[in-house]
Symmetry: C2
Subunit: 583 residues, 2 copies
C-alpha cells in the first residue's frame, strides 16, 4: 500500500490521524532542529516535518534525499504553528515516523517550479518533467475537463460519438496529406485525414442524425508558430437542420463550457455579424469584440481639400481612441512605426486630438479647418480627450491596417482582458473566391458548402456575390470553429461543380464515393468543427496551444523528446516496397 490520502487533501479536521502519503520531494529546508519537506503529487503539496530527535534510521533516510526523489511516508497529522493560507493543506503538516525512498532522481535539467529556468527546447526534450510543473499540468487538466463537458452536453442532445477511420484515402488535391504505405497492397498508400468531412456526411446519409467526435486530424504543411501536424477537432454534423438550428445547438455547447468549466454564465444570445460588416467595421473576419473602436468610413467627407494622400485614396477611415488625446508625439510616432511594419504595410497615420480645452489639433491642420476637423470628429463620435487615428489608401489593405492598429490600441489600453470573453458568429461568407492566376473560382470553404438559399439566382448572373450558408464562431479575435449547411440537392451540386470549373469526370474522380452515396437519399444536413487545442488555450487564457497538448512537436514537426521522425531499417523499407530517394 502506498497511500491513505493524496498530497492535496489533508485538512485541519484530519489532525491526529495516522496517514500514509506518497509523492515527489518539491523542497527540503532545515530550520534549527527540524527538517521540513514539501511533498508533491498531482493533487497538491503537503508539508512534512522531521524532528532531529527522530530515530537514526529515519534521520539517515531523510539525509539522503534530494529534489524529485519519490518517497512514501507514514506519520501523524498535526496542526501547523505557522499556517500557510496560500495552499489548501496549509493548516496542517505531517510529523513523519517512517520514510521509504521509492525512487531516487538525478538533478532535473530545469527547476520544477511555476516559473522555470528551462528554455523551450530543454522543456520539450524533457517534456515529462515539464508536465510536472503546475501551469502545464493544469492546462492538461483543463483540457480533460473541457473534453468531458463537450461530450456530456452533446450526449444530452442526442448526438452519437462515432469513430471515423484514420487510415483513409489520399485525394488528388491531397498535397497536404500525410500518407502511409500499405505493406499488403504494394505501391498503394493510405492517407491520414485532414478532417473527417466526407465520413461525417456519409453518416448523415446513413441516417445517424446527429454525430460528433473529438478527433485527431493531420495536415502536412509548413509549420508556423503554433501549428501542429496533428491537431484535435470537435467534429459535428446534424441532419434536418437549417443554419439557425446549428447556431443554437453550438451556442448552447459554448455556453455550457463557459458555465461548467469557467463558471461564467452567458445569458444573452451571441452577436451575429455578416462577413461584410466584420470586414467593414473591424477589417477582419475574426474581430475581437472585447472592446469597441469600430471603424468609421469618412471617405466621402474629406476629399477635395488639397490633401493629396486623402484625395487619391480609395478608402479613408479610422478609429476613435477614448481618452488618448494626451498621447505624446513619441507615442503617436510609435503607432505610426507600428502600422508601417512590412507585415502591415500602412503608409502613414493621420491623427486628430480632441483636446480637453475643446480645441482640436491634427497632423493635417494645413489642409483642414477646425470646422472640417469638427465635422470629422462628429462623424466619429469623438469626445473631448479622445484621439482619432486615420488611415487611407487601397480599401482592402487599409481595412487590414486599421485592424492591426485597433488591436494594438486595444493592447495599449489593456482592453483585451484574458478573463473577458466576447463570442460572436460571423455569417454570410462569400461562397467563391476568384483566383486571378488560374482564372477560375475556388470554393472558400469546400465544394459541398451550400449557398444562401436566396442567393442561388446569382449563380447565373454574379457568382462572386453568392454568399455561403456558412458560419464561424469567433471568440476574442480567435476563430474557434466553423462550418456550413451542405448541398444535398444533386442539381445544385452539379451547378456548383460547373461554376468551379469541374468536368463531370473531375468531380467523379475527386468525390466519387460521396457523389454515389448522395444518390441514395441524402437528407438536408450541415455541421461545424471546432479547433479543440485552440479552444482549450483560449479557456486557459494562453496565447499558445503548445501547453495544451501533452506531447507537442516543434516547428520542424519533430518530437525532440523521442527524436522522431527518424530513419527506418532497409528491411522495413523493403517490406513496404518503397525506397528513399537520395537528396
Amino acid at each position: 500500500m502506498y497511500r491513505t490520502h493524496n498530497c492535496g487533501e489533508l485538512r485541519i479536521t484530519n489532525v491526529g490521524q495516522n496517514v500514509m502519503l506518497s509523492g515527489w520531494i518539491q523542497k527540503i529546508r532545515k530550520l534549527g532542529a527540524m527538517t521540513f519537506i514539501d511533498l508533491r503529487d498531482r493533487y497538491g503539496l503537503t508539508q512534512l516535518v522531521i524532528d532531529d530527535k527522530s530515530d537514526s534510521e529515519l534521520i539517515d533516510a531523510v539525509s539522503g534525499l534530494g529534489r524529485e526523489y519519490v518517497v512514501k511516508i507514514e506519520g501523524k497529522v498535526i496542526e501547523r504553528s505557522s499556517k500557510n493560507s496560500k495552499i489548501p493543506t496549509g493548516e496542517i503538516e505531517v510529523k513523519v515516523e517512517n520514510l521509504i525512498t521509492l525512487n531516487s532522481s538525478e538533478t532535473p535539467p530545469f527547476t520544477i517550479e511555476d516559473d522555470t529556468d528551462g528554455g523551450d527546447e530543454l522543456r520539450m526534450k524533457y517534456r515529462y518533467l515539464d508536465l510536472r510543473r503546475n501551469p502545464v499540468k493544469e492546462a492538461l487538466m483543463l483540457r480533460h475537463r473541457m473534453a468531458q463537458e463537450v461530450r456530456k452536453y452533446l450526449d444530452s442532445k442526442d448526438f452519437i460519438e462515432v469513430e471515423t477511420p484514420v487510415l483513409i484515402k489520399s485525394t488528388p488535391e491531397g498535397a497536404r496529406d500525410f500518407v502511409v504505405p500499405s505493406r499488403m497492397n504494394p505501391g498503394e498508400f493510405y492517407a491520414l485525414p485532414q478532417s473527417p468531412q466526407t465520413f461525417k456526411q456519409l453518416l448523415m446519409v446513413a441516417g445517424f442524425d446527429k454525430y460528433f467526435q473529438i478527433v485527431k486530424c493531420f495536415r502536412d504543411e509548413d509549420l508556423r508558430a503554433d501549428r501542429q501536424p496533428e491537431f484535435t477537432q470537435i467534429d459535428c454534423e446534424m441532419s434536418f437542420v437549417e443554419r439557425k438550428d446549428i447556431l443554437a445547438t453550438f451556442e448552447g455547447l459554448t455556453k455550457h463550457l463557459f458555465k461548467f468549466v469557467k463558471g461564467i454564465e452567458i445569458t444573452e444570445a451571441f452577436q451575429q455579424l455578416s462577413y461584410q460588416d466584420a470586414m467593414t467595421f473591424y477589417g477582419s473576419d475574426k474581430p475581437d469584440l472585447r472592446f469597441g473602436m469600430k471603424f468609421v468610413d469618412i471617405t466621402d467627407s474629406v476629399k477635395g481639400k488639397g490633401f493629396v494622400v486623402f484625395d487619391s485614396a480609395e478608402y479613408i477611415g479610422g478609429i476613435c481612441a477614448t481618452g488618448c488625446a494626451s498621447y505624446s508625439r513619441k507615442q503617436i510616432d510609435e503607432l505610426t512605426e507600428y502600422i508601417k511594419k512590412p507585415q502591415i504595410g500602412g503608409k502613414g497615420l493621420v491623427y486628430i486630438r480632441m483636446e480637453e480645452d475643446g480645441s482640436i489639433k491634427s497632423s493635417v491642420d494645413k489642409f483642414y479647418t477646425p470646422e472640417d476637423l469638427k465635422a470629422i470628429a462628429d462623424k466619429m463620435k469623438a469626445q473631448k480627450g479622445d484621439l482619432i487615428l486615420l488611415m487611407s489608401g487601397d480599401r482592402k489593405k487599409t481595412l487590414t491596417g486599421l485592424c492591426e492598429l485597433r488591436l494594438e490600441m486595444g493592447n495599449r489600453l489593456k482592453l483585451r482582458d484574458k478573463n473577458k470573453f466576447a463570442p460572436l458568429w460571423v455569417v454570410d461568407f462569400p461562397l467563391l473566391e476568384w483566383d486571378e492566376d488560374v482564372k477560375r473560382f475556388f470554393a472558400m470553404h469546400h465544394p459541398f458548402t451550400s449557398p444562401n438559399p436566396q442567393d442561388i439566382p446569382l449563380f447565373d448572373t454574379d457568382p462572386k456575390e453568392v454568399r455561403a450558408n456558412a458560419y464561424d464562431l469567433v471568440i476574442n479575435g480567435v476563430e474557434i470553429g466553423g462550418g456550413s449547411i451542405r448541398i444535398h440537392d444533386k442539381q445544385l451540386q452539379q451547378r456548383m461543380f460547373e461554376v468551379l470549373g469541374f468536368t463531370p469526370e473531375d468531380a467523379e474522380a475527386q468525390f466519387g464515393f460521396l457523389m454515389t452515396a448522395f444518390k441514395f437519399g441524402a437528407p438536408p444536413h450541415g455541421g461545424i468543427a471546432f479547433g479543440f487545442d485552440r479552444l482549450c488555450s483560449l479557456f486557459g487564457g494562453a496565447d499558445s496551444i503548445r501547453d495544451y497538448i501533452a506531447f507537442p512537436k516543434n516547428n520542424s514537426g519533430r518530437d525532440v523528446m523521442i527524436n522522431s521522425p527518424s530513419p527506418i531499417s532497409n528491411e522495413q523499407l523493403k517490406e513496404l516496397s518503397i525506397d528513399v530517394k537520395k537528396a
Copy 2:
C-alpha cells in the same frame, strides 16, 4: 424547419396535434382508398396515412415516392384503428396534409431491413446504407453509450484523459509499425502507435497519477478474420498502486458498464484464476466460465491396466457432460471427428456413459472393470445420466484439445448464453517465454512488466518460473483487457534486460528516452488496456467486431467503400522523397 418531432416519439397523448416529420420512406402500402407509409429516422418508425381523397397535389407527390426517398410531411396525429404493439409509436398514425420530397433515392443495392439480402462485400461497399439497418445502427449506438460510460466512471475516479501523439517513432523491433514519411525531414519516418505504452508510462513519470484514453492503435499484421489494422483501446495507467488496486478499479469499471449499459448488476467479486490453474482446469488462459465441465486429471488412476494409449500418455484427463449419457454413437463419433480436426489435433476420445439404470458403459470396457470405471466416475463426480469424455497424450496438447472439446460441448448444450456474462481475472502469467530457436528468453508481455515481488530471487535460479505481476480480464472466453505492474526500479530493470539478453547498448537504443525518463523519479505504477471493439461486440452479443466499427476494413486491409489504399501521384512521392519499388 424540418420537423417538430422525430419518427420515434409520437404517442397516443399527441393525438390531435399538428406535427411535422422528416425521414426516409421504409415502406409504402396501398390498402383500398388509403396509402400507408412507414417513415423512418434514427429514432424509430411512424406510420403516415394518405387518403385517396386528399388534394391532387398531395396525391401526385405520394405517387412519385419510392423506398429510401427523403420526405418532409405535415399532418395531424390520429389514433390508429388497428394498433401495432411492436413499436412505441404503434398506437398512432399521422394523417398527411402536406408532403415535400427532400431527396429521391435510387433503388438500394440491398434491402434496408434487419435481415438484409445483401452479402458482406456489397454491404461494405455501401456501408452508409448498411448503417441504416437497425442491427448495425444499434451496434454503434451501444458503442457510443459504452464510451460515454467508460469516461463517466474514470472521470469520477480522478482519471485524466490525455491525448498521446499519433505520429511517433518506429522502434527497431517495429516490424508491425505503419510508417509515415516526413516531407520536412527527407528520408525520415514517423510510426503510428501500436499502443501508447511508453507515453502512458511517461505520464506517470510526469506525476499525472491516473491516466486514461480511448485511443486508436495501429498494427500492420496479416489480418485474420476479425482483426483490423486500426483498432481502439481503453488505455489506462495508475501510480502508487499494487495489483489489487488496479483490479479493484477496473472491476469497478466493468461492473459500472454492466449496470449502466446492460442493466445487469454484478455484486460479487470477479473470480481470480492463476494462469497455472486456468491451463490445468480449462486448457486456456481465457476460459469461458459461463459453464462448468472443469477438467479432471486422472493420469495417476488409470495406468497399468493394459490400455496402451493411456499407459503411454503424459496426461490423461477429461470432462463430465451432465445428462449426456443418452448421446448416440453418431453424436460421439461427431465429437471424435471434431477433436481430430487438424487445427485441434486430438488423437481420439474415450467415453464412459453413466446409464440411468446405474450401469456404466465405456469405449474401454476391454481394459477396465466396472469398478475401475466407477472409481474414475467418482473422481470426476459423474452422476447417473452423465457422459464422461477423456483425452490423453502430451500434456500441453491434450489440455488444448480438451479445451476445444469443452467449448464444443458448451455450444451443444447451449450453455454459452449470450445474455449471461462470466468475468474473471487471470493472474500470475509467466514473465518469460523461452524461444528454442534463438535460445533466449522473451518477455511474454513487454520488458517493463514487473515480476511478482516474491519471485525475484528465482531470476538467478530458475527464470522460467518467475511469474509476472500481470493480469488479464476475461469474459465468456474472450480476452477483454490485460496489463501489468511495471518495473520502476533501475536495478531490477537492469536484471530484466540481462535475462532477456539485451546489452546495455541494445537497451539504450530501443528504450533510450524511457530509460532516461526513469532516472528522474519514476513512481511505482501499473496499468491496463482494454480492446474496446471487442468489449462492445461482447456487450452487443455479437461474435464479430466488424459491426461495432462504423467503417471497417476487409481482410486485405482495404476499405472497399472509398477504395483505399490507392496509388498516389508522382508529385506526392517526389515531395516525400520516396519511390515505389517495382515488383
